[in-house]
């Protein structure tokens, strides 16, 4: 009986209600996709990187064979250089217990020119090693993902509200064409529970289809992500297990939300136009 009535209900879907239901399903799909994106973004707490960062100081390790006079002479000479902002001398053991001799710690006046200064100093005879110390700066990933997260959150709220609105409009249109049947069902002793479950079942179907569509899209992107680096931000796409887990979770969420939209539609049944008797 329920299956018969459900087919009859689907048969009452006309162009206008179909447009609203398709729109509602698509918006629900976007909502689920927004949530799925949260699971796909690479975590923002990645290790800080110094790669490509400006050089803050240069450690120039000196040979222990150098005389103190030479070291003094170099100190005075380097201090006067325009590309050197500050200069200090330390014993090598202060930086590295295994090392011997002395170290000049040079602060370049222009970090952009520091690389040239470092290679110039490295070329001097008596200099055993030159270490360039760069400023540690966090990678831009977390900043981007924060922006993305806020956008997703806005999208999340907008899509679910719009989806529920479209769904209710769709139900209103559908029930307007099905009102005669509803009155006849009530008159014939069909229970309210059966009527409500019909309406909810339609919502569940829409939610289920949205969830399945998302599952298919996730799988498609997973295949693309495996063969391309274009989805570096959504790194989770590369993990098949994560795709499956998120997909199933979204399928369940879509079904529940579809059911809720159906419940919202079922509330229209309390209108006077659906009363069994005039």
């Amino acid at each position: 009986m329920r299956w018969f009535l459900f087919r009859e209900l689907l048969g009452a879907v006309r162009t206008k209600s179909a447009i609203y239901f398709v729109l509602s399903g698509f918006l629900l799909f976007l909502f689920l996709a927004s949530i799925a994106c949260f699971f796909m973004i690479i975590p923002g707490d990645a290790a800080p990187s110094t790669e490509g960062q400006p050089i803050e100081e240069i450690q120039v390790f000196l040979s222990p064979r150098l005389s103190s006079a030479t070291i003094d002479e170099w100190f005075l000479e380097w201090r006067e250089r325009e590309d050197v902002a500050a200069l200090r001398f330390q014993f090598a053991q202060e930086l590295d217990e295994a090392a011997s001799g002395g170290v000049f710690v040079v602060t370049p006046s222009d970090p952009a020119m520091a690389a040239a200064l470092a290679s110039e100093l490295a070329a001097i005879e008596g200099v055993t090693n030159v270490v360039e110390i760069s400023t540690e700066r966090e990678v831009e990933g977390p900043i981007v993902s924060l922006l993305v997260r806020i956008s997703l959150l806005v999208l999340l709220v907008a899509t679910i509200v719009a989806s529920l609105f479209c769904s209710r409009r769709g139900y209103r249109e559908l029930l307007a064409t099905f009102s005669g049947e509803v009155r006849m069902l009530r008159l014939s002793g069909v229970s309210e529970r059966a009527l409500i479950s019909l309406i909810i079942a339609l919502g569940v179907l829409i939610g289920l289809l949205s969830g399945l569509l998302l599952l298919a899209v996730l799988y498609l992107f997973h295949q693309i992500a495996l063969s391309s680096a274009a989805f570096s931000l959504l790194g989770g796409l590369a993990s098949g297990l994560r795709i499956l887990g998120v997909g199933m979770l979204m399928l369940a969420l879509g079904t529940v939300l579809g059911g809720l939209a159906g419940l919202l539609g079922a509330s229209l049944l309390h209108r006077r136009e659906f009363d069994a008797l005039p």
Binding site: M1, F4, L5, E8, G180, E181, M184, L185, R186, L187, S188, G189, V190, S191, A276, L277, P278
Partner: protein, 217 residues
């Protein structure tokens, strides 16, 4: 079969619509309820058909008090009652599909429903129009279809509200004869009308509702 006693019903504003109604309808009886548009006839039929819950008083159907029935038992009771509502409008389907929809919705299988559809359409002389769009039917055939819908599930009680509305005199007589023909065996029929009662409607009893009260039972 039906025993109504001390039945009262008021609107939300406190206006009395039914006032101390006492009524008895026996099995197989055809009763006519006469009354003006606002006399409460439709409300009384709604209460007897378990479509409206009573506020005060007792309605016994087959010895059971409708007011005390649980939701499932009320539904079961409704399935034993056939209702022709006032101003009946058929579904935008064929005559056959109108009746088939109701039967399938009530849990009948396709073959079972088909058999009952044909029986109801034959009884109401609509078998020739079974493939006609119900919205294109003449006034009298619409009434016939409404009656076919009311009797298709073989009810014990038939509640007919204003079946003669908008019909010519000869059509009224035809519907009256149809009702009399159906009043055989166990089926009890209550017909509510503003009157006058058409010729050919041989009712075992006539009651008149005036301002919510029964006169001349």
């Amino acid at each position: 079969m039906i025993q109504v006693s001390e039945l009262h019903f008021s609107t939300e504003d406190g206006v009395k619509v039914l006032d101390d109604i006492h009524l008895r309808v026996d099995q197989g009886e055809l009763m006519v309820i006469l009354g003006s548009a606002t006399s409460g006839k439709s409300l009384l039929l709604g209460l007897l058909g378990a479509q409206i819950s009573p506020q005060r008083g007792q309605i016994l159907v087959h010895g059971r008090n409708v007011a005390r029935l649980g939701a499932n038992k009320v539904l079961a009771l409704r399935q034993k009652i056939g209702v022709y509502p006032q101003g009946f409008v058929p579904l935008p389907r064929t005559v056959h599909d109108n009746v088939a929809f109701k039967l399938r919705a009530m849990g009948n299988y396709r073959e079972q429903a088909e058999e009952k559809v044909l029986y109801a359409l034959e009884t109401t002389s609509l078998i020739r129009q079974q493939r006609t769009d119900a919205l294109e039917l003449s006034s009298i055939d619409r009434v016939r279809l409404g009656i076919a819908l009311a009797i298709c599930h073989d009810p014990l009680l038939l509640l007919i509200d204003e079946p003669f509305e908008g019909l010519a005199e000869d059509e009224k007589t035809e519907i009256a004869r149809l009702l009399c023909r159906m009043n055989t065996g166990h089926l009890s029929i209550l017909v509510a009308t503003r009157g006058p009662v058409p010729a050919g409607l041989q009712a075992s009893r006539r009651i008149r509702l005036v301002d919510g009260m029964v006169k001349g039972a």
